[in-house]
Amino acid sequence: MSRSDVLVGADWVAAHIGAPGTVIVEVDEDTSAYDKGHIPSAIKIDWKKDLQDPVRRDFVDKIGFETLLSDRGISNDDTVVLYGGNNNWFAAYAYWYFKLYGHRSVLLLDGGRKKWELDSRELTTDVPAREKTNYTASEQDAALRAKRDEVVDAIGKQNLVDVRSPDEFTGRLIAPAHLPQEQAQRGGHIPTAKNVPWSKAANEDGTFKSDSDLTSLYKEQAGVDFGKDTIAYCRIGERSAHTWFVLHEILGLSNVKNYDGSWTEYGSLVGVPIELGEGK
């Protein structure tokens, strides 16, 4: 896996608008962004309503994913091109999701919605009609997803990469700075975790930095051991999906998992170790 296998630029997407076998999908938490204007021919997926179980804290299951993609007119042979707001956080999260359920051809638009907007490219409010399909998903690929017991066991053994902001990492804040801070869980980070904020992997326009810059960021500057297994986490697992995408898909590291339970789960667990302040 390398950058050219997983990332496409805006020119490529513009040339594939409406192309048979290609489905452009906008994934946002804020679905009003899609409604106000989206890339022509793009459909939308709501990361929460469509991708989360409505009752339990978990993904939609395999049948739910199959139903979703069938209803949206996505077939197993389609190339899915994902993009979204927040520097592609939720698009990267959806990408990880598509990979978990075994979709063969998935791409991410480099820079996402922001780059497309900042370049003043065309947006439309027309919603495309797509015929239903009969999508078949694979069982979840456990090699891509870390759960809490594995995370606790990884302390001091594997790379733990905390991709939240330094203020969240040290415990000064427990949510990103554009969200209220009233959550009840403890602040801090998982002991031995390296703090590499997701934003360091992105340019200001939302595109990913070069391979050499990314390698330098994680390996040389942060001390992530590329020879070890790695678990990335943030607060709910979408910023860490962005980092999972960088490490696993762009840089091609083999054993990288996303811990989607992330800090909202870990910081509420009873009895697990928490470290405050700067990383050690």
Binding site: D28, E29, D30, T31, S32, A33, K36, W47, K48, G85, N86, N87, W89, F90, K114, E117, L118, D119, S120, S165, P166, D167, R172, L173, A175, P176, A177, H178, L179, P180, Q181, E182, Q183, P197, S199, K200, E204, D205, C234, R235, I236, E238, R239, T264
Partner: protein
């Protein structure tokens, strides 16, 4: 506004007269000659221009951050290579208002 995700609040942020309570709030609006600038992004930067957070501008050109107290830089990005910056100070219990004029 969703509080259980890391994403942007729906449609950006509409400026209100919320009490800050225990929060250190920075909020503002981006205006151009004929009204609000609604297509663009506000970024909150910390020391050494380190990225902290980003939100899309609301329909009214508004944005809001729940920051830690301290010194911050606000940067606005918009189509046409528009790039504006202001330094702000946030304090607990206060709503720091910022206005950008294009």
């Amino acid at each position: 506004m969703s509080i259980d995700s890391c994403g942007a609040p729906a449609g950006g942020v509409t400026i209100t007269k919320d009490k800050a309570g225990k929060e250190a709030i920075i909020e503002g609006q981006v205006l151009r000659g004929d009204g609000p600038l609604s297509r663009g992004y506000a970024r909150l930067l910390g020391s050494d221009n380190e990225f902290v957070a980003e939100v899309p501008l609301g329909e009214d050109g508004g944005f809001r951050f729940f920051a830690a107290p301290g010194e911050w830089v606000l940067r606005v990005l918009a189509p046409g290579d528009l790039r504006l910056e202001q330094e702000v100070t946030a304090d607990i219990g206060q709503v720091t208002k910022v206005e950008f004029l294009v």
